[in-house]
């Protein structure tokens, strides 16, 4: 029988590594297993890393972590075919310590983060696939890998194996996704010279910008698209729920091509060369689809626990926070030397008291609402564009008169009552 560890963490993404790091940091014997050639080799992310949760694990990480740019501007675009209504915020306070968010590329970042874990004493093993959890009378006691003599054992196994968590499914904690529970996102990294990026996005060398795109960016389907600026490349991606893709008979990469050639987007990308192309699922189910997260000798963290905020495209932060909570739970369980479900359920409590579940719950009906009421994307966004156009076009009509016309045209198109209902529903969904 091969040696026994305190904790085995499956996966070296943000969730796995923050858990492994925190465990090791508390003196636990940790084995972390990653199937990729190196951490980050398989991982996809639009690229906004939220400072808060990362800093709770490694204070002032920005001093050494391989980050791209601190985000100083967040823009929101309501896109129509040949127009866009934009709003957003740019604040230079975000450009100085302690910063707000950063854009990152996952491959270098995950490697760096994993290295910090190793420095804490984590044993990281790559190029190794965990095939299944070893369960002995109801308790998870270790994992079986694809290597010879591949069984390893531990008091607790933490599943940080990502959104598609086969291991979680094997344990029956969550089942195959419903198409409306996951968004399929495709993204491309496009290399551009630093100067071009700075000019086109009106940035300094050490300033980044994110643009969230709604409306025609997804051809009016439920979903969002994004453009994030790295040092010398930009990430552009688009995602919609599987269900609406199926409904609209859309292929994800068609959607991305559509976006890249969109008259409002094209100028940003001019002359860039495509560096890599990635496709990935994001659980969009949010609150409703959070599975059982603690069992007898096992915990689920990050995407594996479906902890993603579809509306704000957050995930890595929840992944890190949940990983840390899992670690803290394990440390306490260790002191009690009880790794049973009831003992580990502490993690569930932590999770449900935290911003994570609170946020997910806040938005729990959003996705569903927008899914079942396409008008938000299909009709209001174009309306806004027409309205803005009317409003800003100088044609001698007095502004007050214009506003009347706009309101009339909107209510005219959908009828006053409907509009009011829609407003209320939307407000309820995201309040």
């Amino acid at each position: 029988m091969s040696e026994k560890f305190d904790v085995i963490v499956v996966g070296a993404g943000p969730a796995g590594t923050s858990c492994a790091y925190t465990c090791a940091n508390n003196g636990l014997k940790v084995l972390q297993i990653e199937r990729g050639e190196y951490p980050g080799s398989k991982n996809v992310m639009g690229g906004v890393l939220y400072r808060q949760q990362m800093e709770e694990i490694i204070p002032e990480f920005w001093k050494e972590a391989p980050l791209e740019r601190p985000v100083v501007e967040q823009r929101f675009w309501m896109m129509d075919k040949e127009s866009v209504v934009t709003f957003g915020y740019k604040g230079l306070e975000w450009g100085v310590e302690p910063y707000n968010n950063f854009t990152v590329l996952r491959a270098p970042f995950d490697q760096w983060f994993a290295k910090k874990g190793i420095e804490q004493g984590v044993l990281l093993i790559t190029e190794t696939v965990v095939l299944e959890c070893i369960v002995e009378n109801g308790k998870v006691i270790g994992v079986r890998t694809d290597r010879p003599d591949g069984e390893v054992f531990a008091d607790v196994v933490v599943l940080a194996d990502g959104v598609n968590s086969l291991l979680g499914k094997q344990l029956g904690y969550h089942n195959e996704f419903r198409p409306d529970e996951v968004a399929l996102t495709v993204m491309e990294v496009i290399n551009l010279p630093k100067e071009k990026i700075n000019d086109r996005f009106n940035l300094e060398d050490n300033q980044g910008c994110t643009i969230e795109l709604f409306g025609d960016s997804t051809k009016g389907n439920l979903g969002t698209a994004f453009i994030y600026t790295n040092k010398e490349s930009i990430n552009i991606g688009v995602g919609t729920t599987l269900s609406s893709m199926i409904k609209a008979k859309l292929k994800p990469y068609d959607l991305l091509d559509y976006l890249k050639t969109h008259s409002m987007i094209k100028p940003f990308l001019e002359g860039g060369e495509s560096a890599e192309y990635l496709a990935h699922l994001i659980p969009e189910g949010g609150y409703h689809s959070v599975p059982k997260v603690a069992g007898n000798g096992v915990l689920l963290v990050g995407d594996a626990a479906q902890l993603v905020n579809a509306i704000h495209r957050e995930g890595s932060n929840m992944a890190m926070a949940s990983g840390k909570m899992a670690a803290e739970t394990i440390v306490e369980a260790k002191s009690r030397n009880d790794f049973g479900e009831s003992s580990l359920n502490l993690y569930r409590e932590k999770l449900y008291d935290s911003f994570i579940i609170k946020d997910l719950e806040k938005y729990k009906d959003a996705a569903h609402t927008f899914e079942t009421h396409p008008q938000y994307f299909k009709e209001y966004v174009p309306m806004m564009n027409r309205a803005a156009s009317k409003f800003f076009t100088v044609d001698g009509t007095p502004k007050r008169e214009k506003q009347k016309q706009i309101m009339r045209s909107i209510t005219g198109e959908r009828g006053t009552l409907k509009v009011l209902q829609d407003m209320y529903r939307a407000w309820k969904a995201v309040k």
Binding site: L123, L124, R147, P148, D149, E151, V152
Partner: protein
Amino acid sequence: MHIVVCVKQVPDTKIIKINPKTNTLDRRSAPAILNPYDAHAVQEAVKIKKMLGKGTISVLSMGPPQATAVIKKSIEIGADEGYLISDRAFAGADTLATSYALSKALERIAKEEPVDLVICGLHAIDGDTGQVGPGIARRMDIPPVTNVIEVIELNEKENTILLKRKLANGYQLIQADYPCLMTVGKEINEIEYSPMPNMIKAARYEPIIWSVNDLENVNRPQLGLKGSPTIVGKMFTPPKPEGGKRLEGNSDEQVSQLMELLKDKKELFFAAR
């Protein structure tokens, strides 16, 4: 039986893509790897150890501190110990200076346990000279056997090892007294998928790192750049031949023109291979 395998860290030339037009090479994404031939060398040591049911396998590398990565990789494959000699004094070595430094490290390793067998890769995919192995053998005054494609048997009573050595058009059956040194190519074995215990050991392993001061009676002028008789003179792009005629027209026309041109070569075709 103490086997020492010399392993080198090299840039992954599979990834280094050369743009034939600009003549430049794209190193951006080229990670450093264990020289593929050396991986087979370590694997062969593991096979021999299994064959005998006992023995120690040490790996030795000269390079920058990051080269510890290839030592850990060797541990994954099944090595027991790993030594890295790393020092400014070694930098810029050609094959002569490299074999000198490595032989000095081998002397030191032999102090821990006498060395019975040294295995090197046939060549390193970056420099690819294949000169370091035989060089080490000469300096240790042990017989080198290059291009070994099979280790047939090892006789511990007679201290002899029976080897197949590849030739241009065939092979030699060689019996060598050990201690001796052999260099191995890729044919000699298949790299096995490392078992989990090795992976854990490697993840934990701290290679032994020596500087020049840890080596004994070293003649410094023989090290690194100073100790390297060869230097790179000029670099140049080879004169471009003007190139031949292009066959014009659509594919059918091109093909028939070509067949016409090949007429007088008929006698070469349909021959036995």
